[in-house]
Symmetry: C2
């Protein structure tokens, strides 16, 4: 069996070259740690469309030296706005302008997922300590006396001092730690981008707008300096609840969103229909680390998207695990334990709050009436609900 | 067949001598209308314990000349308070003091149901135009060329110009107008009074307090100048949902309320267990009147108790129907049509809002979190949610 990295001196192996894996590779390689990224696909690429980066993530991206490239392609919205999906009425908004940036030390950015991936990839490529390999599907990974050993589907073997499973929602690394399975929320999403000039109806180009309603929501925001326009439709599939095959298909999308306001209905024809995402998360687990193997990003804490924190939490993970390796350079297990103890409570809170936030968006009946009044009365300068999430933290992002 | 009222000149027949029936008899007889109250039971009496009278009702009771007697036995609470049932924390309160009384032109009163019934009965007994008959169970009622004719189970027959079915939730009069049936909410209540000195734990003696929680609530307030203490426990019966016989029994009461705060658990041993009330209402209907026969109170618009408006709306009905007879003295059907057109929209709104208010009290999950925040942030001087209900109205209480 070929030894894929016989010459490299105790590298850290990272399974998965998505946003979490590459951010981790960048963080570690910048600190002089040898890393090898093992990406299963033939190239580095993200599926999906737009991505939101709150200041808890953009502060890290600033420290990682990639914020200038992000500025070139990202959009800095002035407001996050919530509206009623059925009537188009305003509910509340969060001001993302200078006061917000000053408060949280970094901006709120929306950008294309592939743009962020490319920027992280370019950052890693500048680091001599980072090796970036594609078509490397992990088959097995084990702790042994020398550290960790991973074998790939192509027969290659990689040794290292640590293994970070950044292999996403359907993580195979996680199976070493838990026999849990992803939880299907019964919601499905459709996402896509269109050139802004062809968008039939779009929100103001300096806002992220979410229209929320019973069992559904719709999101719009600009990407790539406003030239590209991102749309997301999410709905609860009654067909899923009935156990029907092919649930959440585009006929059900049309039917469910037919009750929404004119703005949404006019925008929908240009919404991408070629792919749909059933929305999964998992329950938090108590341990991410087995010996010198650990989990990161969606592999560790997959979450529903309602707080737009999936990528942000993976980026926090990257910084935290890098900090832990820097603080405990001689003891991998101690570093990983420091990392998981810091991160599990916080990411579990984000997972729980993402579900809760989804419930709040999609509630009906008495809850909807109270939600609308609560949101409508909210002071736009009230940051009490996001301070825990966006506020400044120590380098390990400790605590919940 | 005996003609029970051969000598009386076109009286108005009122089936049912509860709060609605007697308030109507008092209102009509004071204006000089001959009335005959036909009460099925052997005596005039209410089952149940405490009763809340909001200013929309106490304004009417003032006009009916009975407020001084109510002052003698009623309690004028200073606050209506909502607390969390699981933790005893305050949520919000409504100030019922001088500002409230000035705003709504009358006080908020809590009293024993039987005390109010006695006061209304004494008021009627002072009116020569009112006949009050017991052991008169209506068997049939019909419109005919002379007006209305009602036959009783004891073989007596009564004629009149109009028939008002004030015969409660299970009204037989309503069957002339609708084949609907009461809607079981799956909630059950236990109610009772104890001498205040023996109450193990009670709220301040100048407050009405409702502890609200997921699928349950508990209410306490003083009666009879504070010497008697009223308690109500309400919970959603899981046994009812499972179709079990004997659902909502005292074992289920104990189990459901076992999660509540210490204050409630200490108070429960003295809560009456000898009777339980499954909680019913009905859907609003479009017509209450058939010829010269109409409905009033619970027979017309039975409602869940969450707004404490059952008696209050019956008292509004009494004033409205009296006003209608005074405005249209020569045309019974025109008077009854005026009455129903004025009252149906408003009572339907109260019925719907009572359900909604119950949903808000009993909500769990995301809705509970938002409810708690909304209520906690509420300005105690905010009257916007009760203005429509407590605010001054025309004498027919028109509109919704």
């Amino acid at each position: 069996m070929e030894n894929g990295n016989s010459r490299s001196k105790d590298p850290i192996l990272i399974a998965g070259g998505g946003i979490g894996g590459l951010a981790t590779a960048l963080m570690l390689s910048r600190s002089g740690h040898e890393v090898i990224v093992l990406e299963k696909a033939a190239q580095f690429a993200e599926i999906g469309a737009g991505l939101q980066l709150a200041p808890n993530a953009t502060r890290v991206l600033t420290l990682l030296g990639v914020i200038d490239k992000i500025r070139e392609v990202g959009v800095f919205p002035k407001k996050l706005r919530l509206k009623k999906a059925l009537t188009d009425e305003n509910l509340t908004h969060l001001d993302l302008g200078d006061g917000f940036i000053q408060r949280y030390g970094a901006p709120y950015v929306v950008m294309h997922r592939n743009d962020l991936l490319r920027i992280l990839l370019e950052g890693c490529q500048e680091q001599p300590a980072a090796q970036l390999l594609t078509s490397k599907e992990i088959r097995t990974v084990d702790n042994d006396a020398q550290g960790v050993v991973a074998t790939c589907a192509d027969g290659t073997t990689y040794r290292g001092k640590a293994f970070i499973g950044a292999d996403g929602l359907w993580s195979t690394t996680r199976k070493l730690l838990s026999d849990d399975v992803p939880v299907n929320s019964g919601y499905v999403s459709y996402r896509g981008t269109v050139p802004t000039e062809s968008a039939a109806s779009h929100a103001p180009l300096d806002e992220v707008v979410a229209w929320i309603g019973p069992g559904l929501h719709y999101v719009q925001y600009p990407l790539r300096s406003g030239n590209l326009y991102n749309q997301v439709a999410v709905f609860k599939s009654d067909q899923y609840l009935k156990g029907m095959e092919n649930w959440g298909n585009s006929e059900e999308l049309e039917e469910k969103l037919s009750v929404t306001c004119e703005h949404i209905r006019k925008a929908m024809p240009l919404l991408g229909r070629d792919h749909r995402w059933p929305m999964y998360d998992r329950e938090p687990i108590d341990r991410w680390t087995l010996g010198n193997i650990t989990l990161l990003g969606d592999a560790a804490h997959p979450m529903l998207q309602y707080l737009a924190q999936g990528a942000c939490q993976a980026i926090e993970d990257a910084f935290a695990i890098g900090t832990a390796f820097n603080l405990e350079p001689g003891n991998v297990n101690k570093a990983l334990t420091m990392y998981e103890q810091a991160r599990i409570p916080r990411t579990a809170r984000v997972q729980r709050n993402a579900r809760l936030w989804g419930d709040m968006w999609h509630i009906d009946g008495a809850g909807r009436i109270m939600r609308d009044e609560l949101f409508s009365k909210r002071d736009p300068d009230d940051h009490s609900h996001i301070e825990w999430l966006y506020g400044k933290r120590d380098p390990l992002f400790v605590g919940d």
